[in-house]
Symmetry: C2
Subunit: 286 residues, 2 copies
């Protein structure tokens, strides 16, 4: 069966009603398009657990901060359709901005879903103020439109995954969040739609981000539990032209900062290579 592309919320709801009448389970994969193999692994996971896989392709304006790359964010719908079809997706929901945010004059006009401040004043949330409010709001909208049984999120955006799991629990949303492993190029670079922005030279520098994380993981395996020391290991391995935004160690279950690793810990990094902001992480398992 070939993939169906719908742009309107009502049209999508009608399709979903039909699926429900046939007692089909639904998995949703929210994306901003520009699909790569990381997304593909999410869609394949979705396809393996539910009868119907629906993806959204929507570059969500309210999760971009002023000065970020909203306007130039790559839009590649034709290619996205091919990737989705090859991964067993049934429906692509690709709404316009006005379909998702009708009569929106300014973003402060709409009801927002807002994660706790303490959990957004760290890592990506610290530099991208309001970013996770925009993410949770659009994800809530998508959940309410699709009412999926499952929703798949990648572990590259580890803070996003944590906050969405928390949102679902806090607000009793009737959906199961399915975390999916981060996918890398063979050379170690974490897949990202923003890798498209990198020149060949920048790609070489960007590679030192994953190298740093792998070095930290090696040192951790050799017995170093002090995150200050592990931080230094990471820094040593990072190209000097890579501008570090953060390199943090947080508990896997609570997202609280960790000094001395005693339970599963996320080591996460954000850094700029030229103008391109990249994130990556590894899990240090105890």
């Amino acid at each position: 069966m070939s993939v169906v592309v719908v742009n309107k919320i009502d049209e999508l709801r009608n399709l979903i009603k039909d699926f429900r009448k046939q007692d089909k389970t639904i998995a949703l994969v929210p994306t901003m398009g520009c699909l790569h193999n990381g997304h593909k692994s999410l869609m394949e996971k979705a396809h393996s657990i539910a009868d119907v896989t629906i993806i959204s392709v929507f570059v969500n304006p309210i999760q971009f901060c002023p000065g970020e790359d909203y306007d130039k964010y790559p839009r590649t719908l034709q290619n996205d359709i091919e990737v989705a079809e090859s991964a067993g997706v049934s429906v692509i929901f690709a709404p316009s901005v006005s379909e998702m945010y009708p009569n929106l004059n300014k973003f402060s006009d709409i009801t927002m879903v807002v994660p706790p401040y303490e959990l957004t004043d760290i890592m990506c949330g610290k530099s991208r103020v309001g970013h996770f409010d925009g993410v949770e709001t659009v994800v809530t909208k998508l959940f309410n439109i699709v009412q999926p049984d499952y929703a798949c999120f990648g572990m590259k955006d580890i803070q996003q995954l944590f906050l969405i799991k928390k949102m679902v629990k806090d607000l009793n949303m009737p959906v199961e969040i399915v975390p999916c492993p981060l996918v890398r190029e063979e050379n170690g670079l974490a897949l990202s739609s923003r890798n498209k922005y990198l020149s060949d030279d920048e790609k070489v520098k960007a590679l030192t981000i994953s190298k740093s994380l792998f070095a930290i993981k090696e040192s951790f395996k050799l017995g170093i539990k002090d995150t200050k020391k592990l931080f230094d290991v990471g820094l040593t391995n990072l190209d000097k032209n890579v501008e570090l935004e953060y390199l943090e160690f947080v508990d896997f279950d609570t997202f609280q900062k960790v000094d001395d690793i005693k339970s599963n810990t996320i080591c996460a990094i954000a850094a700029r290579v030229g103008d391109v902001r990249l994130i990556d992480n590894v899990i240090l398992e105890v």
Copy 2:
């Protein structure tokens, strides 16, 4: 059929699954208990439009501000069960605080649903900072737990009704909001659980709140459209021992303040009689 009282979310979800299997439609009436004839009219409306009526009885701590009456808010579950049963309610959901907010240390720990600042920095939201965040968060939780087809809200809490309608639209919640008329005692006093706090003497003073609104409505019908003049009419009719918090005129559709009435307008009042805060409103229809 007698009403079933459940305290646990999972238990309620199992009941709802059964209703859904039988293709029954569901209407929800969220309440804080201490049910009076105002609530009863909501439940009767719910009963008339859906196969199953579910009410929640939950004094929601996160919608009370510091210093408000959370601790002394009347809890009258036995009476509530009788009122609900007489109104055709099938299920009462009466959870504990820890069932709704598990492991909550402080309210800033949870994901919140937040209406736009501009719409809460007026009327009740202005004095009750954070109140509507608490309301929208608990209503979202209840919607996600019950997944009702309809939810009935009274027009006494007119700002709440407006914000909830907006929340449903903004976040694409799959529920139809059913507004229900404000209910009064024969003498005009708007029904409220907080009327229980009033002494006989205070009740007499409280009556001048609705009298003020009725006088405004009369003057409006006689051709006065200038809200400054209508404000004065209201003030003249209010007992001097009633402490006015606000008397505002806002557009019925946009909740923007109105100077000169040209379209349907809400005239809303909040005032204190002794320690008791009361609200009331009338619609000025063009």
